[in-house]
């Protein structure tokens, strides 16, 4: 009796096996499809982490000035930039955050943006950079949208969401089924042959960095264009997120009637000038804006966005290394009144968490330690992607993909629910799942050669 298994145990075991194979299959295809993108994200991320050091080195000549007496007022520094680029529109001004840091005047000319670096003591220009040429900005663009605009943004978001699926399925595959043993679980088995070592070099390091990867994904997602924007809208609307205009939403408008604004006279003769048009409010001088920033205690390193239309406001925006120093302030361009002043302390609970997530993600919150920990996670990701790919190359038969055989997903009910749950939480995953099912239904299941190749 004891040697014969009852049919129900047999069933259970088989079922367990098919669940394992289903999850393995999903992990397998998702891995092959998204590995190249994960590699790109890990590599560009590793570089971008060190933006402060790299830019400090790259732009030394533009950034560093010798302190010499008092700084010139902002208006005079901007006037110098205007002299050099009379046709340009001045869009931003950034006072240096230290005695030895140059000021930056942002201008736009013929649809291109430039930064003019000004020595605040002499007013001399230290040089001009085309913003398109700032290499770290290009790397950020690569990291955030693969340099492909909205489509790239959605792809990165899809990759990030699917990385969550990879982590969840990966954890399931990694989870030890036999008795507890740290070897092959948290320490790779180096002496059990190549096959086992290959598996361990993928699964064990992946487990080590699971929390880190999940953290980078979850802190990166609020940036994304689809999931991120909707997430930000929901939490801002709830009163617990960023106040409006910090991330999404518009700034308040300058409160003045058009007829009360001074107009530039068009007439060539003084007699033809309608006095009432000329009389009125003029734009607040930028020196007043700088004075307001100092008075209100904005941490140096802020940028002033200069309004170029009648309703616009001066916006002071500071996103320094530490989340708790962040500030966004809107100033009426005519009266100089502070219309909104949002500091970290004014963020809702979720807003504060997201803000910390972002500075941690960028590696600025805790400086070098932060950068090193994040770099290790990125290097771990590269290792896991490469070893996963290697694992596949070594195991795959020559004429097939080498995916585990697909039992119907309906047998793995819990996994199906997890997938649907992830699909709802991350709508792009949901959409791509529907797409996969449609392709499976219409193509893979109907063409025998494809079916064999995919082992479906």
């Amino acid at each position: 009796m004891g040697t014969v298994q009852s049919p129900s145990t047999e069933n259970k075991k088989q079922n367990g096996n098919s669940v394992y194979r289903t999850i393995w299959r999903w992990h397998f295809y998702a891995g092959i499809l998204f590995a190249p993108f994960l590699l790109i994200l890990a590599i560009t991320g590793s570089i971008y982490l060190f933006k402060p050091q790299i830019e400090q080195n790259l732009y030394q000549d533009y950034w560093v000035v010798a302190p010499n007496g008092d700084k010139l007022p902002a208006s005079q520094q901007i006037a110098k930039a205007k002299e050099l680029y009379p046709e340009a529109l001045v869009t931003t001004f950034r006072p240096g955050e230290s005695e030895s840091r140059s000021s930056e005047v942002g201008i736009s000319q013929k649809n291109e943006s430039f930064t003019v670096f000004i020595d605040p003591y002499s007013g001399e220009s230290l040089g001009t950079l085309n913003n398109e040429d700032r290499i770290m900005d290009r790397i950020e663009e690569f990291h955030g949208e693969l340099m492909a605009g909205t489509i790239g943004d959605r792809i990165v978001e899809l990759v990030a969401c699917w990385a969550v699926v990879l982590i969840v399925t990966g954890l399931f595959l990694w989870y030890p089924r036999k008795k507890q043993n740290i070897f092959g679980v948290i320490i790779p088995r180096f002496n059990k042959g190549k096959k086992i070592l290959r598996r361990d070099l993928h699964a064990v390091p992946a487990f080590w960095i699971t929390a880190g990867m999940l953290f980078l994904i979850m802190t990166g997602l609020p940036w994304s264009g689809f999931w991120g924007n909707n997430f930000q809208s929901i939490v801002t609307n709830s009163g617990e997120g960023y106040p409006p205009s910090v991330w999404i939403g518009s700034a308040p408008a300058s409160d003045v009637k058009t007829k009360d604004i001074a107009e530039v006279p068009w007439a060539a003769e003084t007699l033809d000038v309608p006095i009432s048009d000329i009389q009125g409010f003029t734009k607040l001088p930028i020196d007043d804006v700088v004075a307001t920033a100092n008075r209100e205690g904005i941490v140096p390193g802020y940028t002033i966005f200069i309004p170029n239309d009648q309703e616009g406001v001066y916006t002071l925006s500071a996103f320094p290394p530490k989340a708790e120093d962040e500030a966004t302030m809107h100033i009426d361009q005519y009266s100089g009144a502070v219309l909104a002043d949002y500091r970290y302390d004014n963020y809702g609970v979720v807003g504060k968490i997201v803000a910390w997530g972002i500075t941690l993600h960028k590696g600025t919150q805790f400086g070098l330690i932060n950068q090193i920990v994040s770099l290790l996670i990125c290097l771990g990701m590269i290792l896991v992607v490469v070893s996963g790919f290697y694992l596949w190359m070594k195991r795959r038969p020559t004429k097939e993909m080498g995916a585990p055989k697909a039992p119907s997903i309906t047998k793995a009910k819990i996994f199906l629910f997890v997938l649907i749950g992830l699909g709802i939480l991350f709508p792009l995953v949901g959409l791509s799942l529907i797409f996969v099912w449609i392709v499976d239904f219409l193509v893979i299941q109907r063409i025998p050669a494809v079916k064999k190749f995919m082992n479906a």
């Binding site: 007022p73 208006s75 901007i78 006037a79 689809f226 924007n229 909707n230 809208s233 929901i234 801002t236 609307n237 709830s238 009163g239 106040p243 409006p244 999404i248 939403g249 308040p252 409160d255 009360d260 001074a262 530039v264 006279p265 068009w266 007439a267 003084t270 007699l271 000038v273 006095i275 000329i278 009389q279 009125g280 409010f281 003029t282 734009k283 607040l284 001088p285 020196d287 007043d288 004075a291 307001t292 008075r295 009426d332 009266s335 100089g336 009144a337 502070v338 219309l339 909104a340 002043d341 949002y342 500091r343 004014n346 809702g348 709508p427 949901g430 959409l431 529907i434 449609i438 239904f441």
Partner: protein
């Protein structure tokens, strides 16, 4: 198959429709400022021996402001020939503060009101004309030179 198509359409539609936007009064949920607002009434200016009165109505949170912390007027001429540093305006009641001045020469002038109440500080700047503009002043107005700021350091 039809079922699948239907499901797909419904899900896509849901996704697109559920893309949320911010509610209009969302700013009410966060830290709010009470910005002062100044409405200035300029008289007709003549360079004769009569004084002209400039009035400003201060409004905060929709209410007229009486007993503001301070309201100072600063007036100067664009060509640099005249500069009255800050003078306190007289409170006229009903949120109105006024200053009377006798303008003796024609030209382009600037007025800066320094006012503060209940945590809001403003410094709106206006240009006005006494009599007629000179050719130089007109050219100045038509050039793109930024308005030179009054160079006083007495910020409150």
């Amino acid at each position: 198959m039809e079922k699948m198509k239907f499901l797909f359409t419904v899900l896509t539609a849901c996704l697109l429709l559920s893309a949320c936007s911010l509610s209009e009064d969302v700013a009410e949920l966060y830290e709010k400022e009470s910005p002062l607002k100044a409405e200035v009434t300029l008289p007709e200016f003549y360079s004769d021996d009569h004084k002209e009165t400039i009035e400003v109505l201060l409004i905060q949170d929709g209410e007229k402001v009486n007993g503001a912390d301070y309201v100072h007027f600063e007036i100067w001429k664009q060509d640099g020939t005249l500069h009255y540093y800050m003078e306190p305006a007289k409170e006229m009641g009903n949120g109105i503060y006024a200053l009377s001045k006798d303008f003796k020469s024609d030209g382009l002038y600037y007025l800066k009101i320094h006012a503060s109440n209940n945590g809001s500080i403003i410094s709106p700047q206006m240009q006005f004309v006494v009599g007629d503009l000179s050719k130089e002043e007109l050219e100045f107005l038509q050039s793109d030179i930024p308005v030179i700021e009054s160079n006083n350091e007495h910020h409150h």
